[in-house]
């Protein structure tokens, strides 16, 4: 990503008479690499739309796609920071499994004894415990890596085995179900969506935030007399942002409750069943909102906080970071703690969605998470990566899988395709970076 900025700006210095396309990208400061990824996503979507004969780009499939992506997307945001500092975390799937199992046991077995079944506080206590467990595991991994100098690959490879084993020991291999009904909202579904009105409110707030952020950045740059983006570019970005947000809300609001659930709901609330069925929109799913919130918070951490600056400096040149007086070991510990917390949040989403905590929860998720981060432009050499890119990367992976399911492709072949796509994506990225230099 950094390479792109570099390339576009070199162009700025070099040729004043650049073509309109170049001028457009320069003025809007759109990251062409991110745009490339969005382009790949669009190609995948349109491709599947054609292959499945119109099954892919339906509100229902898109809505499901976002819900299925959220768990891996949450973890991918943390994986970016880990890979940026030249580390790797192979244990996220197992940590997800362990946190999920702890949370399952908490809400299904321990807390009801004290609070009674379906107590309104159960979900938040459960989530809090899960996050604490995740943070503790992350801190343990991080400390071993930073203070005992064991390579992250080995520590987390050990973690992969240890926490999967530990998951089994919590209940001696039994699956824990069902989950608390409030907790289950985090998994999405008919109940776990916020409905049409709330979705529009969220969309409008997001639009206001986009416009506000653009205005604020313009004001800041004016304050110090830095070069400004042309006004048309500012308008363009504002409109584009708002159209995308509101478009996504509209899609979510066009996915209606399944007939039998809607009928049950109508019966329970004494609504007369109209001719042609009752159409209750889902709206945005709660796990998707959680993933978006995590993405925003992580982007804030990565770009606006001192900690994030240190993470990138550490990835770019560890010696320079050390010489600059950064406590590099603590930064490493904090990154892994953050990853643990994100694993716990992802675990909440996936156990809530499954309505059960199982031994196998999150198996292979470490690989999907790493793949999402890498497809999203995070460089394994360290120092380069964006949160948004990783989340789009997660969406690309999930789109491929979900599209292949719609096409009825066998699961072994799905894996082959995903594996090949990962390698090809990284190869294309390498080519792109080499040319950008």
């Amino acid at each position: 990503m950094a390479d792109i900025t570099q390339a576009t700006q070199t162009n700025r210095a070099r040729n004043a008479d650049e073509n309109p396309v170049k001028r457009f990208f320069r003025a809007t400061e759109i990251d062409t690499r991110l745009l490339g990824m969005v382009g790949a996503l669009v190609i995948i979507w349109v491709g599947f739309q054609l292959l499945t004969g119109g099954l892919f780009l339906t509100p229902r499939n898109l809505w499901n796609l976002t819900v299925q992506t959220s768990s891996v997307a949450v973890m991918a945001t943390g994986m970016v920071l880990i890979i940026v500092t030249r580390n790797i975390d192979l244990s996220v799937g197992s940590v997800l499994g362990f946190c999920g199992m702890i949370m399952g046991v908490m809400q299904a077995k321990i807390l009801p004894q004290y609070l009674g079944l379906e107590h309104p506080a159960i979900w938040i206590i459960t989530l809090g415990c899960g996050i604490l467990v995740g943070a503790a595991i992350g801190a343990l991994h991080g400390s071993i890596i930073a203070f005992l100098n064991v390579p992250a690959f080995i520590v987390t490879l050990g973690g992969l085995l240890v926490w999967r084993g530990a998951t089994w020991f919590v209940t001696s291999g039994q699956t824990v179900a069902p989950m608390n009904s409030t907790f289950r909202l985090m998994g999405g579904g008919t109940e776990g969506s916020i409905g049409a009105t709330a979705s529009w409110i969220v969309g409008i707030v997001a639009c206001l935030a986009i416009v506000g952020a653009i205005l604020n950045s313009r004001k800041q740059r004016k304050r110090f007399g830095f070069p400004l983006r042309p006004v048309w570019a500012e308008y363009f970005l504002s409109v584009l942002g708002c159209v995308l947000v509101l478009g996504a809300v509209a899609v979510a609001n066009h996915y209606y409750w399944p007939t039998n659930i809607a009928r049950r709901y109508a019966d329970a609330n004494g609504i007369a069943w109209p001719e042609g069925g009752l159409q209750i929109p889902h709206g945005i799913a709660i796990p998707v909102l959680m993933a978006i919130a995590v993405g925003i918070v992580m982007t804030f951490i990565a770009t606006r906080l001192r900690f994030g600056r240190y993470v990138f400096a550490l990835g770019g040149n560890p010696e320079a970071a050390e010489l600059a007086g950064i406590k590099t070991r603590w930064v490493t510990v904090k990154i892994f703690m953050l990853m643990g917390i994100l694993c716990a949040i992802a675990a909440a989403i996936s156990t809530a969605r499954l309505n059960a905590a199982t031994n196998a929860q999150g198996e292979l998720d470490e690989l999907y998470t790493i793949a999402a981060a890498v497809i999203g432009g995070t460089s394994l050499a360290g120092g380069v990566g964006t949160i948004a890119g990783a989340m789009i990367g997660a969406l690309v992976m999930q789109s491929l899988q979900s599209g292949m399911v719609l096409l009825g492709i066998d699961s072994p072949f799905q894996r082959i395709v995903v594996g090949v796509v990962l390698v090809v994506a990284v190869w294309l990225d390498t080519v792109y970076r080499a040319r950008a230099k």
Binding site: Q6, F224, L305, R306, R309, N317, L323, G325
Partner: protein, 261 residues
């Protein structure tokens, strides 16, 4: 020295040994405000070791360091920074993947009242400092990786200046640079001299530094061969000091000078 001012730095009779090898043996060097002293010698002559004692990376076995005439207690790099001593390393100075402003402020970022990074203020200050050092520098938004060697060097130097350095140590400042960039760094050094900053240039190649330095101090086998003002000696004579340890007439011989029979 006929100079009556107090030296900015005076290292007196400094020695350090590693496992019985006298890396630096009874060496003395000094540096005045606004002066550039080149510390020359072969690889392994002890010049880098001597200077690392000053920057706090090594701890001396014997001898003393005076800063502005006062004994200074330098045990680690943080102590050295307290005395306004900044070291610029050829390769380790900058984080490649972040921009110039981020590098200038690495480790002591400016923050808004809400605790977030104040990038705009940092960029403004960076533009100011870089404008003073290198008015042609315009690429504030790009990762440092995209800059030329000379520009990177000026970022590293600007960083030291932002720390209010009064004593600058530059280890092989131009070794990796092309001729044009070397000239750029030369300009920078002249600029810093004007501001009263004392600079130690360390090099094994006399051509890199002879024209920039006011004085040269030559080391050989851990000992100081001698000091000389650059205007009093020729390059060949200094080469003689470096290679043979032979002190020309106008230089002040040190303990390492070849004893002429």
């Amino acid at each position: 020295m006929t100079d009556q001012r107090t030296p900015l730095v005076e290292m007196k009779n400094v020695s350090i040994s590693f496992g019985g090898i006298h890396a630096v043996d009874n060496a003395s060097v000094d540096l005045y405000p606004g002066e550039v002293v080149a510390l020359l010698g072969h690889n392994g002559a002890g010049k880098s070791t001597l200077i690392k004692i000053l920057s706090g990376a090594y701890k001396r076995d014997a001898g003393e360091i005076l800063i502005n005439g006062e004994p200074a207690d330098i045990n680690n790099p943080r102590d050295a920074k307290k005395y306004g001593i900044e070291t610029i390393y050829q390769t380790l100075a900058v984080a490649d993947n972040v921009d110039a402003a981020a590098n200038l402020y690495l480790g002591r970022e400016l923050r808004t009242p809400w605790g977030t990074l104040d990038d705009v203020a940092m960029e403004a200050k960076a533009r100011e400092v870089m404008g003073r050092l290198n008015p042609n520098f315009q690429r504030f938004k790009e990762p440092v990786k995209a800059l030329s060697g000379g520009q990177r060097q000026s970022v590293a130097i600007a960083r030291a200046i932002l720390f209010d350095a009064r004593i600058l140590i530059m280890d092989e400042p131009t070794a990796a640079l092309g001729p044009q960039e070397t000239a750029q760094v030369g300009e920078l050094i002249k600029q810093l001299k004007k501001e009263g900053i004392g600079i130690f240039l360390i090099s094994h190649d006399i051509h890199d530094v002879f024209d920039l330095a006011d004085r040269v101090s030559v080391m050989k086998n851990g000992q100081v061969v001698g000091h000389a003002r650059t205007q009093d000696v020729t390059k060949d004579e200094v080469l003689g000091m470096i290679i043979l340890g032979k002190c020309p007439p106008k230089a002040i011989p040190g303990p390492g000078a070849m004893q002429v029979a």
